[in-house]
Symmetry: C3
Subunit: 317 residues, 3 copies
């Protein structure tokens, strides 16, 4: 297996099967630190640079929390508007990264443009982790989902997935790429206008992913061991934030996971994942059911980032 030290984490296409398992195993090894709520010294000599050009709570803070749990330092920006990159200079990724690489030892970048972290990695002498790039990918989120499954089920192979949401989104891309490395049939359920693009389907077929598409969660929920949900209701981005305030539509029943649906149709040991935040695709009364694992994912999100940071910084083999 290639060493993770110094490697970028841009796309789950770049990870081989045994590398996925290695990340999950290192995460499991580090998990007690987070569970016992203590910060250790593993990365006390290292600094994380967060470069977030788009709003984020979970992805940015989970990386920061992971760095703190491992005793490291954190610098960077949570808002491109407060930087030269965000003002009239519209500084290039290259110019920004040729600076950021000296401010720390690993960069986590979220960017509204697909491919921006790849461009950053091209110029940076330190590892770049993709914290979500436009319609591109969101590899650390999907590693968190996989870790949640791995810890709950003790396995990944052989489990059937149901993914609900906007199939053009970055998490769905990372999910599909990840599952190509495992024996995991998946059914994608989305509104027609949010379905897998033809280009992406062609790519998935090349990878021999066992996938199908459906128009209603009821068509696929009975078989699913893992149900991963994302919003399908989108705000009207042509309106200002204020105008949008009350503008949250209702999720159609086709794409909604209710308590009744779970009780009547889902496997009793299926697990329900959501990276959050949510609209109304999972109503709050699902939170206390036996299927819900999305709170657990917040915890696991820290653990997985601990593993990734320790690995790319060479603190864990």
């Amino acid at each position: 297996m290639r060493s993770f030290m110094g490697r970028d984490m841009l796309s789950l296409k770049d990870l081989e099967r045994n590398e996925f398992f290695h990340v999950l195993d290192v995460a499991e090894e580090l998990e007690p630190i987070a569970r016992e709520r203590r910060n250790v010294d593993l990365l006390s000599e290292k600094t994380l640079v967060v470069a977030f050009y788009q709003p984020s709570t979970r992805t940015r803070l989970a990386h920061e929390a992971a760095m703190h749990r491992l005793g490291g330092h954190v610098t960077g920006f949570a808002d491109a508007k407060m930087t030269r990159a965000g003002d009239f200079y519209q500084e290039s990724i290259k110019d920004t990264v040729k600076m950021l690489e000296f401010y720390g030892d690993v960069i986590v970048m979220r960017h509204f443009q697909q491919g921006a972290p790849h461009e950053a990695a091209k110029w940076a002498s330190i590892p770049v982790i993709n914290g979500g790039d436009g319609w591109g990918e969101h590899p650390t989120q999907i590693l968190t989902d996989l870790y949640t499954v791995y810890r709950e089920k003790g396995q990944i192979d052989g489990l059937k997935w149901l993914a609900v949401g906007d199939m053009r989104m970055r998490t769905m891309h990372s999910l599909a790429y990840a599952l190509t490395q495992f024996d995991c049939p998946i059914t994608f359920v989305s509104p027609p206008e949010m379905s897998l693009t033809d280009e992406f389907k062609a790519e998935l077929e090349q990878y021999s992913l066992d996938f199908k598409e459906a128009g209603h969660v009821e068509e696929a929920i009975a078989d699913a061991d893992v149900i991963l949900v994302e919003p399908v209701v989108q705000p009207d981005y042509t309106k200002s934030r204020d105008e949008r305030a009350g503008d949250v539509g209702l999720t159609p029943a086709n794409y909604k996971i209710t308590r009744d649906l779970l009780a009547n149709k889902a496997k009793s040991d299926a697990i329900l994942l959501h990276s959050l935040p949510r609209m109304d695709e999972i109503p709050p009364d699902v939170d206390i059911t036996k299927w819900s694992r999305y709170w657990q994912e917040a915890f696991n999100g820290v653990v997985v980032r601990m593993a990734l940071l320790a690995l790319v910084l060479g603190a864990m083999e």
Copy 2:
């Protein structure tokens, strides 16, 4: 006395008399660290999560500074707009907190909605400190005021208070609740439209607080040992920030503490508190008088937060 470890700090109604003194004593014990300007290792294994949905300099930075003085780590957000909570998702407090609780070991929350930190505490498995909630309370600020009095006077009981400002504000609520535990008569001076609400007065009477109301600082200043001032001039929040820029009215003499007033009417050993920022209710020429203690409060604000963090995290008994 109940242990502070793991406890929330939401309202000063929740603190008993001996608990107030315990916080003040722990603060006094930790004060040398801040005075000697050094960071120690007491909380090096812990992380503070700041969750600020409203602008703040003092409250947020005093908590951060306190955490740093105790060697701890800090993560979180200073601006809800940069999070999913602040954008169109308008994520619920529950959903946000079920995430934040894994990013650190204690949360300090400021929120524009009264009761938001209480809602957070309901869901969080780690302590929540109220950093100011709408019209609700601001317990850590008033603990800072009490500590300032305690350190200056060596006592709290038996001192007469004069409070000037908007009596509907959160600091006044926390102040009144705190004083119910001590032998401290207080006179509230405010414009009529900013006076104590009937509901709050009824509550205070139940607590047997010895309070009265007056319309002019001159009516109460001669007896006061402690003069606590807040702004009574408010901006017109129906205007945008830019429209408001020059829109700061003048504080009427009734609610203003001038150098002449202090020299002519105040007790020679009275102390003058203000949590700052100020409008013109205390003119700058008061700063160098013997009464002023508001600079000292900034220092004390760090010391008190050191005590609270050390207590709720179990690092001090």
Copy 3:
């Protein structure tokens, strides 16, 4: 030589020749820490307060990175809008600083008003470093430029400078003041409307700086050992950020350093500095030429701030 411990770093007019060399030597001594990408414990007992009233990437993050490399803590604000100083209170520098001085052990301040850090230093009991004040100065940036020259050339005296840009800007002021302490002739090239003010020229003549002005880079590039470039194209600040978005003019040839110009006219061992961000005054194809040192400056910017922080905090003699 006066001790640096406890001193403010407001203007390069305040530094004597041997003090410049001392800062550069301390930087050189600390450089291996940054080069080896590790954080040490030199300032682990200290906290840096960043007080940035204007957007910045490099200056803020280079100070933060320097503090982290030396094991220190960081708090503060990157955006005045999120503080009481930035909202309707428009809190005075005095009131803000009488608070910030208790939140850490050294303040780095950027402010849109010239002289603001000087006002801060007047009230603060801890050192204040000027991170750029309006049209005033930008001392830490020019120390970074000097360090880059010193490390590359092994000397400062006897080198000829060419400075291109807006001569009313703070970096140019700091540069000119710095060079008065060395034997460094300099030619300033700028558009007529951005030339040295008469007042500033009179000041420079008093300092016996050997300077001249020219209207085209070609007039001065052949002799230059050091070429320092800043933008001359400015956005139209009367427009909103959105209106300005595509509003970046082209830099006239007079003020532009192209690959051809360097190849045909520049000394083969000249070095080209730019504090970045840039508009188009240095096209990207210059980046890989032998003259370019602006990436190196990003690294040196951390090293120089490490030296300044260690010196004013008394951790290095």
